[in-house]
């Protein structure tokens, strides 16, 4: 055995309590005096713990499978009857009795009613009945016209709400399912009214929750009844910086429609060595400000914010860790402590077309006047 093998063997026998008493005393002495040995013991103990957990996890998984089969066989759970497209059968079996009862009740009622009508009802079709029908028809048309009117009013209301002439245009993206959104401070700081618009053209009113001019970040909240809480955000915020040359992409609104562009990370710092931001090589135009910069895993690594006017394709983005910081500060306020920022991305391994498709619903145009 080599020395490494012998060392590992001793460490493992020590951890597993397989050493004889005097060997153990000797080893403990060695552990105290030799930092390397001590480190090995610690590392190997952790490895043992991990393996134990792994083992229990595997056992638990296999016992679940076993229990499932047993319970299905006993009929305690309704499972194996359901293989494939047997759902209708399942529902039928489940509701067979109820349906049978319902059907017979319906049958009895129908027979009873027809007997009643035949014996007591008018034998000729009476004009009163006719009149009722036309009255019903009349009522129907009245309701329809009322509905139309209500629709019109709604549409008008929506129109009036949304008429502002935007002076500032930018991009923003959701960071919480309840409608919290990130954009640049310079997009919204001089605005009185703010609206955000998604890629389907729907507009929602929003307000500024936090303005951080130093970091050029703004957190907005959509405040509009028509905005429905979103189930799940597909992307996460990265807490670490990306590497140079890593491919990136962004979505934004340099025009009225959402626009995709891709590039790469050029430098880990921004203009004049600014550590707040990083430099990216990408085509960006006014209106792209505030847009999310995604890495290839679909994690947000920054917010597109400025570009160098003297050179083409030199664009700067604020690093995402500062969003995390700004949000952490905001969360100290009890009003906003329940903001939930997604930290893991569900876009790993997807191609860019899929990634862009999945995130574009959560990237908004930000308009202010």
């Amino acid at each position: 055995m080599t020395q490494d093998t012998r060392m590992l063997d001793s460490v493992e026998r020590y951890i597993r309590g397989e050493m004889l008493p005097d060997e153990r005393v000797y080893f403990e002495q060695l552990r105290k005096t030799n930092a390397e040995v001590d480190q090995m013991v610690v590392e190997q103990t952790i490895f043992f713990q991990q393996m134990n957990r792994f083992n229990e996890w595997k056992k638990f998984k296999s016992s679940l499978l076993e229990i499932h089969t047993d319970l299905a066989q006993q009929g305690s759970i309704k499972s194996d009857k359901l293989k494939g497209g047997a759902r209708v059968t399942y529902l039928w079996n489940r509701y067979k009795r109820t349906m049978a009862i319902a059907a017979s009740i319906a049958g009895i009622t129908a027979i009873g009613l027809s007997i009643l009508i035949n014996s007591y009802g008018p034998h000729k079709e009476s004009p009163r009945l006719q009149a009722l029908v036309s009255e019903v028809n009349h009522l129907k048309s009245v309701t329809r016209s009322l509905d139309n009117k209500i629709d019109n009013v709604d549409r008008k209301k929506a129109d009036t709400v949304n008429t502002i002439i935007p002076k500032y245009n930018g991009t923003g993206f959701l960071i919480d399912t309840k409608g919290f959104m990130i954009t640049n401070a310079h997009v919204v700081k001089n605005s009185r009214n703010i609206f955000v618009q998604n890629n389907k053209g729907e507009q929602f009113k929003a307000f500024v929750v936090k303005l951080d001019v130093n970091r050029d970040l703004a957190i907005l909240k959509i405040d509009d009844d028509r905005f429905k809480t979103i189930g799940y955000l597909p992307y996460g915020l990265s807490k670490t910086a990306a590497d140079i040359a890593e491919p990136i992409f962004t979505l934004g609104y340099p025009r009225d429609e959402i626009v995709y562009s891709e590039g790469y990370l050029s430098a880990k710092t921004g203009y004049n060595g600014d550590t707040l931001s990083c430099q990216i090589g990408i085509a960006a135009n006014p209106g792209n400000s505030g847009g999310p910069v995604f890495d290839r895993n679909g994690e947000v690594i920054g917010i597109l914010s400025t570009k160098e006017t003297q050179a083409e394709g030199v664009v700067f983005a604020i690093q995402s860790k500062y969003i995390v910081q700004a949000l952490d500060e905001l969360k100290k306020d009890s009003l906003y402590h329940n903001i939930k920022v997604p930290l893991t991305s569900g876009l790993h391994g997807l191609d860019k077309v899929q990634q862009a498709k999945k995130v574009q619903d959560y990237v908004f145009m930000v308009k202010g006047d």
């Binding site: 597993r16 016992s63 679940l64 499932h68 319970l71 893991t344």
Partner: protein
Amino acid sequence: MKPEINEKDLLEGLARNDRKAVETIYRDNYNMVQSLIINNNGSADEAKDIFQEAMIVLYEKVRAGNFELSCLIKTYVYSVSRRLWLKRLQQINRYQPDLDGTAETVGVEEELEAHERLNEEFGLMEKGLASLGEPCKSLLEAYYLQKRSMNEIAVAFGYTNADNAKTQKYKCLMRLKKIFFDQYKHREL
């Protein structure tokens, strides 16, 4: 209250992977989750997967020493399953913003994040072991998972002595660690 005591007992049993406790929780909650999945575009097989994953999340929670759920087991399992299913739908492009189903839910985001990490780690470990090939895989499993002694292992595997088995085990362990960390780093990029 009686039911609460029962729930706590069940959770303690679950933490020990006690067959009876696990079976009880399984029986009491499976049908509910299956209806949820089937009513929302899923199949019975998918329901089984989701439910078992939710059981693992609960298992991990009680293993961490947390026997006091802030809600009933039922509510917890339902909430986790619901969340997992939404996520699965989204991954396979059958995304829908919300699920049909009116039962009460509780927030389970943190647990699910931890669960995902653990799942990934254990998944990598499983893959790593499998890619070692034999006899490495069985050798390491016999020592680290089944906790057999090196003498027993030497006999069982047919090594002439325990020292040779130890040398082999050392090499296998180093290979496993390398594979594991290579995979791990690759994912992180």
